[in-house]
Point group: C2
Amino acid sequence: MDSSKREGEAAINIPESKSTKGKNVAHTTTLMAAPPPPRGGWKRGVAIFDFILRISGLVAALAATTTMGTTDETLPFFTQFFQFQASYDDLPAFTFFVVANAIASGYLVLSLPFSIVGIVRPHAAGIKLLLLIFDIAMVAFTAAAAAAAAAIVYLAHNGNSKTNWFAICQQFNDFCQRISGAVVASFIAAVIFIFLVVLSAVSLHRRH
Amino acid sequence: MDSSKREGEAAINIPESKSTKGKNVAHTTTLMAAPPPPRGGWKRGVAIFDFILRISGLVAALAATTTMGTTDETLPFFTQFFQFQASYDDLPAFTFFVVANAIASGYLVLSLPFSIVGIVRPHAAGIKLLLLIFDIAMVAFTAAAAAAAAAIVYLAHNGNSKTNWFAICQQFNDFCQRISGAVVASFIAAVIFIFLVVLSAVSLHRRH
């Protein structure tokens, strides 16, 4: 496309008489209109929406982390040998869930200043690309965390007769309700990250 | 950036004497180098790499689907009431795993023609954006499937003393080994999808 433009430029310049300088400038300006113009109205809108989505994602990821991390139910009875207590660090899937959502929350906090730069300078594509790459990693992280926890939560609710894994939610009812909420919050965070990636991609695709 | 360029253009044009036309053309050419030129050499390379990655992802996702889907171990002993048999459809997490990886495989097959179009026409950005959006969904799908299955596989290997879920891999050793392999294949597919998204994003970012 550049060579055809260069040819077009040459075709305009060569037959021109030296007195049509102003016209030449006008032509050049028209041809120069193809590269990124400073309109950026909808780009700024996208950048503001990006910022709002990041705040929402932060709320969802923080909710998932804290709900799962602080849930700790001790049953009101205990035998001589056991105290019945359920906490997130009993199951590695839940530990991974807390770690992954904490990482996602931390990343979202760190990404907010870059998102603000995107609002101030809507054509800074390099920052968008950087955020997009990290956002994809976070899609995988939060989706994996939510799915792993969901698999365990399902088991806790329903049990599995084939493997002789019994449902534990009859005993730990409050625990089960809270971790189910945390899983939903993490899925919401994953969906928000997907929207963030799509937004960045559309913004990178349409330059003007 | 555009307005500053236009000013630069004007600054070059105005003080020039009318006899330095050739120099003017040279200047314009240098300034015009910013908009998309038809080099596209590395873009074609990226498109070919995209195609190879899709083939690899297809192999990984298909391997995950078929390994999980065909694993069916019947133990050589049975009681009067039970026949001990382990299959993927005993656990909803494994059923989701098979469905998600089958969807990913099907999508990858359908995306191959579009990837070929990307090789033939490296500057067709619309197709890249479309594939990128679907690729992100597949990142979430395959990562979630792998994580859910991994949570269950971990439980099958190690059990959990707190919840009285016992390890079943002593009995179903072959079953456990095969599903572990399927989980690894699905994680590989997820990583390949992440690379596909990053490649598309970089390709969208750098127009030339």
